[in-house]
């Protein structure tokens, strides 16, 4: 166990201690005891930057299930480190924020921090694992801890609904992803991601290649809330705001992004499908998310759809950037700019979205509502929050001088360069990419402005607010202030701070085949590119966006074209209900509680399986070669037994049928006599007598109301089934008899009964000597039956009063 493993597992260990601390130290907020760990981890991971900057990676392994090739292998490279820093860095800020957000005497702090730490450890495991199965394990842990955190206020119905929805959707994707991993294993023979990437060139001809890709992409799309699986994210906003800020904007929803980036070298170089799917789904998500965000009235709703759309943006950039892998040299490879933009925007989004969620949490905390129709004019009451919100929203809208502007410009560059792509049919449909991206950016601009101006400017409406608003406590402001400062710092100094330290190493992990031993990605981020098409697009976004924002009430009605009735949410709810109802109906339709029905199923199945097997296997064969001749007595007995058996069916009274059953039993005894089986005949006679006596006992005790003796009603299906059973049995008996394969082993018994066992009655010697165990347990059966009968008659623990 290396220090690196300990770093990943430390949140789990601390989660064990949290309840103890919560129980014994009540006067101090539990969050303070949690806070040190993410800070410590952040500084620990920070020191790896020098390692990854040099193009190296750190791998540590401990064996877990070596026989299955599953080892807990941890690998720190550029991409993993970037995510680890995001997780621990924003994790620290979120823990600090939550200390002031959650009151220590009103909330169950122990469960909150246990879940949060579970999530943090799981997320670190996802991004640092080099083994697919270990990655999957941590992946599901993030789903579970997210489920627990969304349902944190479990007394609220909406929380439970949101938690269930996110669970169903992400676990669906997770399981599909596991399937994809197993397919990858089948193709490459290893679970190690780095080995799979090295062998990627060999597998693209495999028939499992496309299914594996689709399965893994489904996992990534559901986790990262891509269209049409984005529906869980807005409902996950029922979680406490620190959770929304952490899980549902900065970290967990980027797990899918991570997966796509991590596996790009496996799938992207040989398949246009990967590019089209990742970039296409990303763009649709981008457009639909930004379009839907505009009509939301809840602040967290806007941010949720905004997250969806920004994730789509990053996803589409990863898709387009994967085209770079199609070429195998670095020079003049114009598509790597999309990957740069993806990594850069990933960082930027975590900073500004985290701060915006915290701002919304503050507004909610201080006014008691998140509805933008009730808010307004908070600028003067909450000046610091206002400033942070301005930085966050303007960065989100892509305005200079914030970091969002830079990544938005690069996003446009990446999309415009799609036009020059001459592979994968891009020359025909490529023009859609920059166009859709531009339209989506206009909507992004509109909702950013709505978020900012409707909350902080306009008319102050004190009557609609539950509390008198005032500035938040200082502790609650520190984390968003830090994030907002990062927005500005990255805006001004992105090139010097980020490009060599984080972005270039991360790109080296996404596009490894473009580098040889000594080369490095050269990332340049600058404000001024000259008068080019990207700048025109940004100016267009601002101009059109401003006009659209000002005239929003006039064109609001286009949202009526997409009524709630036909939304994907309705589809989800409806199909969930449909599945429940139809499976319920299905079960009720065949489980009707009548034993007769179940017997009918069993018999029909029996007839069907046996007759099909007989005919398919050509087993039906009837010969009379080894049959004994028919004697007169046997023939007479056969007629008697058949008459009795059929007469029972038509017996009018129960007494008649009991007597007929007795006569069948005695005829069977006579058969035993004829077929030279004296012991059987004796036993059969005695037992038949006792059985008939027992039947008569039951007959006598029939309750009076049911004494009405009526003939059994004739039912055609019953008759058909019973004739079928009889015929099948006869046919099988005949075929088995005609296909006798080898002689009996009975010659041994005949020879050795006297010599070895000192008896002359072969049947008895077999029963007590050769096969005595059968007899012992048969005695046991009789004993149990006797005790059971005794118990049934004597024990009356629950006598019914109404019966």
């Amino acid at each position: 166990m290396s220090l690196l493993h300990l770093a990943i597992l430390s949140p789990f260990l601390l989660a064990l201690l949290v309840p103890i601390v919560y129980k014994y130290v009540r006067q101090i907020h539990t969050g303070w005891f949690v806070l040190f760990l993410p800070v410590l981890l952040f500084s620990y991971f920070f020191q790896f930057i020098s390692e990854t900057m040099g193009g190296h990676s750190v791998t540590k392994s401990i064996s877990w299930i070596p026989s299955l090739g599953i080892d807990f292998t941890v690998k720190i490279d550029g991409l993993g480190l970037l995510f680890a820093l995001l997780i621990t860095g924003i994790g620290s800020l979120v823990v600090l924020y939550s200390i002031f957000y959650l009151a220590k005497d009103k909330e169950q702090l122990n469960t909150f921090y246990v879940y949060l730490l579970l999530f943090m450890g799981a997320m670190l495991g996802v991004v640092l694992s080099d083994n697919l199965i270990v990655l999957y394990t941590f992946w599901e842990l993030t789903s579970f801890s997210s489920f627990l955190l969304i349902g944190y206020w479990y007394h609220k119905e909406r929380s439970r609904y949101g938690a269930q929805k996110s669970m169903l959707i992400t676990v669906l994707g997770g399981l599909s992803m596991l399937g994809g991993f197993v397919l990858l294993y089948l193709m490459t023979g290893t679970f190690r991601i780095s080995e799979i990437i090295n062998n990627a060139g060999d597998i693209f001809t495999s028939p499992l290649f496309i299914p594996a890709m689709l399965c893994i992409l489904l996992g990534a799309f559901t986790k990262s809330a891509q269209f049409p699986f984005h529906i869980w994210l807005p409902d996950a906003m029922e979680a406490p705001t620190p959770v929304s800020a952490y899980l549902h904007s900065a970290t967990m929803v980027k797990a899918g992004i991570y997966l796509v980036a991590r596996l790009s070298p496996v799938f992207a170089p040989h398949s246009g499908l990967w590019l089209w799917l990742v970039a296409g789904v990303g763009l649709v998500t981008l457009l639909w998310g930004s379009f839907s965000a505009v009509k939301q009235t809840d602040l967290k709703g806007i941010l949720a759809f905004s997250t969806v759309s920004q994730l789509g943006l990053i996803m589409s950039l990863l898709g387009v950037g994967a085209a770079a892998l199609y070429y195998d040299h670095l020079d003049e490879n114009i598509f790597i700019v999309a990957t740069t933009a993806a990594v850069f925007h990933l960082i930027n989004h975590a900073t500004f979205k985290g701060s915006l969620f915290m701002v919304v949490g503050i507004v909610d905390h201080e006014t008691g509502t998140r509805d933008i129709r009730k808010l307004g004019g908070l600028m003067h009451m909450m000046p610091i929050t206002f400033t942070i919100a301005a930085i966050g929203t303007f960065s989100m809208a892509g305005l200079p001088p914030f970091n969002g502007f830079l990544s938005k410009e690069m996003f446009f560059t990446g999309m415009v360069r799609v036009l020059e792509m001459d592979i994968f049919n891009m020359q025909t449909w490529g023009f859609l990419f920059p166009m859709l991206a531009w339209i989506a950016s206009i909507f992004t601009f509109i909702y950013s402005m709505i978020l900012f101006f409707k909350t902080f400017t306009g008319k102050y409406k004190p009557a609609q607010l539950e509390k008198k608003p005032h500035e938040a406590p200082i502790g609650m402001l520190i984390p968003p202030v830090i994030l907002a400062s990062l927005v500005i710092i990255f805006g001004f100094f992105a090139d010097s701070l980020l490009s060599d330290t984080l972005i270039a190493p991360a790109m080296a992990s996404i596009l490894p085949s473009l580098l040889n031993d000594s080369s490095k990605f050269f990332v340049e981020i600058s404000y001024w590119h000259g008068f080019n098409i990207e700048l025109m697009m940004t100016i267009g976004v601002i101009a059109v966006g401003t006009i659209a924002y000002l005239t929003f009430p006039k064109w609001k009605n286009i949202y009526k074209l997409f009524p709630e009735k036909r939304s994907i949410n309705r589809l989800y709810d409806g199909s969930l209900e449909l599945i429940q109802r139809s499976s319920n109906n299905f079960t009720n339709s065949y489980m009707n509680g009548f034993i007769r029905t179940y017997l009918v199923y069993i018999f029909i199945f029996f007839i069907g399986m046996l007759s099909i097997t007989l005919s398919v296997k050509n087993a039906l064969k009837i010969t009379i070669d080894n049959a004994a001749p028919i004697g007169v007595y046997e023939a007479i007995l056969a007629v008697i037994i058949a008459i009795c058996a059929i007469a029972i069916l038509f017996a009018k009274s129960r007494l008649t049928s009991i007597i007929l059953l007795g006569s069948i039993g005695y005829t069977v005894a006579l058969y035993f006599v004829l077929f030279r089986a004296p012991d059987l005949a004796l036993t059969q006679l005695v037992i038949e007598t006792v059985s008939v006596a027992l039947f008569l006992l039951c007959f006598y005790h029939l309750p009076k109301i049911n004494r009405k003796e009526e003939r059994m009603g004739f039912r055609f299906t019953n008759a058909l089934i019973s004739v079928g059973v009889g015929v099948v049995i006869t046919l099988i008996a005949l075929s088995a008899h005609s296909n006798k394969l080898f002689d009996s082993i009975s010659q041994y018994y005949i020879e050795n009964t006297y010599e070895k066992a000192a008896g002359k009655n072969m049947v008895n010697v077999i029963l007590v000597d050769f096969r005595g165990f059968d007899t012992m347990f048969e005695i046991l059966v009789l004993g149990i039956a006797a005790l059971g009968i005794f118990g049934m008659i004597k024990l009356r623990l629950t006598r019914r009063k109404d019966g």
Partner: protein, 112 residues
């Protein structure tokens, strides 16, 4: 002979199945009784019905009937008797407690 026995056994199975599909509990138990008769005869028939002496060494015969199926049937008879008598007493007790032997009325009362 075996063909005739196979037909007789088929008739027994048919009649047993028909009885087991009926409503009255007593008839169902009668059905199981006939079914076990059918099974015992089937065992005997499948062992072969070649004529020979009863499996007693004192007979000094040149060939004997196969003793093994007979031992198996004897075991089966005793076990089916144990089970049948248990069922009968169960039926008797359910008459006493529930007041009916109609299987259609012996359902769970979840809807009450």
């Amino acid at each position: 002979m075996e063909i005739l026995m196979a037909i007789v056994i088929g008739v027994l199975f048919m009649s047993a199945t028909y009885l087991m599909l009926s409503k009255s509990l007593l008839r169902i138990i009668i059905g199981t009784g006939i079914l076990s008769h059918g099974a015992h005869l089937l065992l005997l028939t499948m062992g072969g019905l070649k004529k020979g002496a009863a499996p007693l060494l004192g007979e000094q015969a040149s060939s004997y009937t196969d003793p093994l199926p007979q031992a198996l049937i004897l075991t089966a008879i005793v076990i089916s008797f144990g089970v049948t008598s248990f069922f009968l007493v169960l039926a008797y007790r359910s008459y006493q407690e529930l007041g009916t032997d109609n299987m259609d009325r012996l359902r769970g009362n979840e809807k009450k």
